[in-house]
Symmetry: C2
C-alpha cells in the first residue's frame, strides 16, 4: 500500500458499486415498464426511443468498466447505440433484459479487478474523454440517471406510472 | 485524526462538491432555456412543471446540506416544493435564478463545514430517510440529475434544444 494516497473515507469502491447496481436495478424496471412496441419506437419531441437510450447505458457500462480496468476502450462510433450501428442492438425487450443481466454480472466481476489506486488516476475514456477515473465512472452513472429519467417522461406520456426513483431493490 | 477511517482515496470532499456544483451549473442553464411561461406551467404527461421540479432541487440542496452539517432537517411537507406550499415558491424565472445563486453560495459555505468523518456517519434526513450521509448526498445529486433530465424532455417537446449533458461550466 505504499505510495497510496489516504484520507478520511468519503466513499469506498464497494459502496460505489452498490450505488451503481442499485441504479441499474431501477433502470431495468423502467425498461420492463414499457409495452415492447413503445420501448422500441416511442419517444417525445423527436428524441431517441428508450431502447436506444438503454443501449447507450449498456454500452457505457460494459465497455466503460472494461476500460477502467484495462485502460483500453473502443471508440464511441463502434458501439451499438451509435446511429450507424443500430442493426447490432438487441431486437426485443426480452433480449435487452438478457443483455442487461449479462452486463450486471460483468460489472461485478470487472469492478473487483479495479486497483485501489485507479480511481484517482487520469486516463482517456472512449478515445477522447480525459478525466480522473472516478469522474469517468460518475459520468457513466449520471448518464444512466439522465437517460432513465427521460424514459420516465416517455412512460408518463404513455399514461404509465414509472417505478419510483428511490426503488433500487 | 485519531479514530478516522482511512483507505485509498476514491473521491474527496472537494471533488464531490465540484461535481455537484458542476451539475448545478447545468441545471441553472436548463432553467434559463425555458420561456418563462413554460418554465412555470408546461409539462408532459400530467407531470409537475419544471418550476416545481427546480424548487424540489433547491429545497433538497439548501435544507439537505444544512442538515448534513447540523443534523437538523425540516420535514418534507414544510418545504416550498410540497404541493401545499407552492405559494411560497419564487414567482418568476428571474426570482428562481436569484434563489439558485443564493443556494450556490450557501452550498459552498456549508460544505466547508462538513467534518471529514461525517460522510460515513448514519443519520436521518428530512425526518424519515436513514442513510449514511454520503448516500444522502448522492441522493440529492441524483435527484437533481433525474428531474433536470425530465426538464430536457419538456424542452424537446417545446422544440427547444436543451443544454448538453456534459456542459457543466
Amino acid at each position: 500500500m505504499e505510495n497510496v494516497q489516504t484520507a478520511p473515507v468519503v466513499t469506498t469502491p464497494e459502496a460505489l458499486l452498490a450505488h451503481w447496481q442499485g441504479h441499474r436495478r431501477l433502470t431495468r424496471k423502467v425498461i420492463q415498464a414499457f409495452p415492447e412496441k413503445d420501448f422500441l419506437s416511442f419517444s417525445v419531441g423527436g428524441m431517441r426511443p428508450f431502447a436506444v437510450l438503454a443501449m447507450e447505458i449498456l454500452d457505457l457500462t460494459e465497455h466503460g468498466i472494461r476500460g477502467i480496468v484495462t485502460g483500453s476502450y473502443p471508440e464511441v462510433h463502434e458501439l451499438p447505440h451509435h446511429a450507424n450501428n443500430h442493426d447490432r442492438m438487441p431486437k426485443t425487450q426480452a433480449a435487452f433484459l438478457a443483455k442487461w443481466d449479462e452486463v450486471t454480472e460483468a460489472l461485478n466481476e470487472l469492478w473487483a479487478q479495479i486497483p485501489a489506486t485507479r480511481f484517482q488516476e487520469i486516463n482517456v475514456a472512449f478515445g477522447q474523454y480525459e478525466n480522473a477515473n472516478i469522474d469517468t465512472i460518475l459520468y457513466f452513472i449520471d448518464n444512466e440517471i439522465h437517460h432513465r429519467a427521460q424514459g420516465t417522461v416517455y412512460l408518463r406520456a404513455l399514461g404509465i406510472e414509472p417505478p419510483a426513483f428511490w426503488d433500487r431493490y
